[in-house]
Amino acid sequence: MSLLSNTSALLGKELRTEFRSRELLTTTVVFILMVIVLFSFTFDPTSSESRRFGPGLLWLAFLFAASLMLQPCFLREQANDTLSALRLSVDDPFAIFLGKLIANTCFLLLTELLLLPIFAVLYNVPILPVLGWLVLVLFLGSLGVSIAGTALSAVSAQARMRELLLPLLLLPLLTPVLVASTQVTAALLDSAPYVEWKGIGFLAVFDLVFLTALWLFGEYLLEE
């Protein structure tokens, strides 16, 4: 059937599965919280330092969490070989990736939005005036993390040491996302907030490049 209908059916499956158990979401939220708290022990979280370090720490925490959260993505399709069932049922294998990466973006975004107010309180940063823009950068950054992470999850699921492999492959690849997202976030949380348009454009380009690459090469990632 069409890419759109297949993607939405698969997206529905991913969302339904996760919201039924909520195990990924809860563990990811707790993990990010833990990282944020631990980071606070490594420097003095007074006002000026928080603003300097805060955004970077936040995105670093998101990246670490994502590299763990994205592991089960293709791994869980191995248990009952449901990946084969999916491959047999869809016309375009890209639908499998698209469904999963949209779901992963939603999960990441959800955990980030849950943690944003906590982060704001712990580090004394004002998020309300720039909330809309923050959501935008969270979205674009999470999308980039998701696209790369979903693709590489398919790779690491076929190798040994997959728990360590996914972070190893993913984190260097996501350096541009870390740099740009941190920059945009820092600009928004600055004492004189501004929108770093170059950063937002850059994130959009990153997302587009890797989405296209996944579209072109995804089917080979699923080959037997």
């Binding site: 499956k13 009952n80 047999l88």
Partner: protein
Amino acid sequence: MNPPRMIGAGLHFENIDKRYGSLFALRHVTLEIAAGECVVLAGRNGSGKTTLLRIAAGLARPSSGSLAFLSAKGATADGRIKTGFVAHATMVYDELTAEENLLLFARLQGIPDAQNRVQSLLADVDLADRRDSLVRTFSRGMRQRVALARALLREPSILLLDEPATGLDPDGTAWLARTLRRLRGSGCTMLMSLHGESEISAMATRAVRLDTGKVVADTASGASLKSILTFADA
């Protein structure tokens, strides 16, 4: 159960090789299966049965050689022939209910009137009363039934089964044999891998034995059915 009107199709494997690194899973396999045949693939573990079935299902591609589908009349089919695949693994999601699983695959495959089709299939495999239970709670036999229902969603002309009776108790095996006989009655071609003789192997019209990826015996060339099946575990 009302068997769907399935007209079988044939399969032609031409000089198929499949290798993984330096290992040949299949070597020079040429085999023609006519529409409506019920063929048993016998052989030890690692003889290539699963690989051949997965190639027929379209999950794996041969390293060399080709696979063609034949219409019921024996001519090469132009359109896509619908195949159904029942594997060792159930290929359904434990965290979804039987109904959710079938609806998902029905939607993905674009089955018209999915809801009704799913309900009738659930009835056919005697799982209508467990449609809202998570597959995780099912016994092995029940999981096989969901797996079979999934394979039958698009009314395949060829049914491929990889050791479908593994882990089934005698009741389960009897049920499977009955169901497969009914499907045969509607003209569906079947290619299945089995270990040894059983109720299920009894309905075979032909048997082929594989050893280390090669075809070593075929009832079509004169070998006896019994000899192929019983040597399987030697």
